[in-house]
Symmetry: C2
Subunit: 128 residues, 2 copies
DNA sequence: TAATTTTTTAGAATTATTCTAATTTTTTCA
DNA sequence: TGAAAAAATTAGAATAATTCTAAAAAATTA
């Protein structure tokens, strides 16, 4: 665990946001000005192999990183892009039944419009 | 519906594979040698907006396209990369309950090892 | 401490995708 | 039908995320 790796992990754990590699690079740079982009990418990979974080793909152009390795759902607001976590009870069992096999992990993303944006939408529509 | 768009849609519908944009470009080129990459990308977007196909993100570096717009699960073998479809019954209800809101779509990917690869793995292990 | 291994760094290279501007095709409707 | 307008296509340049490379630095081992 080098100091670069420690800082990267701290950045990811410091809030509930699901940051992109580039955001993590920027945040890590505040504490370790000399850090290089390649180091961030290398360590994100290493941390995922070590099951300390989880990569979540496909929300935007760039991948994001979750501070928990345990699979769970992500709900993504289509208006503001905010990502929240959620859980389904007994989902592992349900999933292995459905695919007829054990599995290693899953990724579940739901696209919706969050309450705040829903209100704004109504406001916008009403104003027209 | 231009002839380029028709060919792209045919390519996607011609088999059960979930092709990448680049594969679709190559396959479309066989039938329409002058077709351009930009046309493929433009039309994949247009076809998705028209709800005729669905983009699936994050399986590999490049996005893939599904010949059905209706959300369903994808099970991805971690060894050979093959993608299969699967369904969960009553999943829509379960999902909206879990997130406490209606949603627009979801994406569910399960990583596992398919039967064929599982056997090969055993064979490999046994041979060592 | 010396030797070896691992990590980091800066920047080049690669890959997927988007953008641009010119051209072609399609559509509209007089 | 045919001129005008709108939409789609093309080739290639531009962009953005990520990976690669080779040299330097740091950490580990003996």
């Amino acid at each position: 665990m080098t100091k670069q790796r420690a800082v990267i992990l701290e950045v990811i754990r410091s809030d509930m946001c699901h940051h992109t590699a580039d955001e993590i690079f920027t945040l890590a740079k505040e504490r370790l000005p000399g850090i290089s982009r390649a180091t961030v990418y290398n360590n994100l990979k290493a941390l995922e192999s070590a099951q300390l974080i989880r990569r979540i793909t496909g929300d935007s152009l760039s991948d994001r990183y979750d501070n928990s390795y345990v699979p769970h759902g992500h709900m993504i607001c289509e208006e503001c892009g905010q990502v929240k976590d959620f859980n389904l009870s007994n989902f592992d069992k349900q999933l292995s039944d459905a695919i007829g096999s054990e599995f290693n992990s899953y990724e579940l993303k739901v696209r919706y419009v969050c309450d705040v944006c829903k209100q704004n939408e109504c406001a916008k529509t009403a104003g027209e």
